[in-house]
Symmetry: C2
Subunit: 157 residues, 2 copies
Amino acid sequence: MEKIKVVKKQILQRKGDLHSKSYKVESGLLRSYTIDDKGKEHIFMFGPEGWIVTDYVSPNEPCELYIDAIEDSVIVPIEKTSSQDIDLKKFIKRIRVLQNRVIMLMSASAVDRYEHFISTYPNIIQRAPQHMIASYLGITPEALSTLKNQRLRSKKK
Amino acid sequence: MEKIKVVKKQILQRKGDLHSKSYKVESGLLRSYTIDDKGKEHIFMFGPEGWIVTDYVSPNEPCELYIDAIEDSVIVPIEKTSSQDIDLKKFIKRIRVLQNRVIMLMSASAVDRYEHFISTYPNIIQRAPQHMIASYLGITPEALSTLKNQRLRSKKK
DNA sequence: TTTATGCATTAATGTAGATTAAGAAATTTA
DNA sequence: TAAATTTCTTAATCTACATTAATGCATAAA
């Protein structure tokens, strides 16, 4: 239950590491992500204050995801060992978010996904760099940039 | 704990229905899916024998997903009411599958996703119609068809 | 201050997969 | 069985987004 401070860009966990933990974010912003075989990053989730960032592997399995800090942050690492914090509701919530993300990725265009992202995580847009938001949306930074222009233009009219 | 028989194409649950249940599959094959605003189906998961098919909403919320039978099946509906079958491990497993699916959708090409699907669910390929597999992969049936040819051609050489 | 290094933008060109359409096979229904 | 319906395939065309590359702007380092 100790709070620890981490600085921007500090890596908390790497893919393949053992003893995966959960991280409760007191302040700041974390992210979890993978790196594919072409070396490309894919952001899995953002973790602003109040969120818990976890790689859903059992504590004795190697991690699937990298976790690092986008901003200087204060976090509380939580051991996964005991069956303590089985907050089932949070699990179900998490599954639903993923469920929606899968559906989004399958059915919605990049513009729609961006719109959805804005309305769901309005404050993260300002805090995370563009290329990370692009990565979360599953598009390139270039595509995000032009997409934003199109949006502006069509709204201005 | 009663087993019930359902026939091919029988719908167990519609989006918006209340009193969502889980369905343990004794034999046969179920699927869960959404229908987007363009009327297009997106298969969320296949449930062959041994699997439990669930829409992860709390029992008093309206369903997000449709669930129906791809083959004549024998299933056991499970009430979600009590906190009985909180098999946490299954939850975590489910999240991991989703986690992988998201990563797949973001980083892998249609061919790679197909390869992955084949190796993960070899028997479903033969049992579900192509257009459903295409839907699961997030591509059109036409794209799946041509993709299969390319695969064959490159292997024959 | 100057010089780097990283990040965002724009534009030209390329490509995976969507769409459309038509026909062939297979399966279901009568 | 034939007729109807559903499923699968093929090919032509189209489009959203990727890739590449060049340019401007930050922030950070020297």
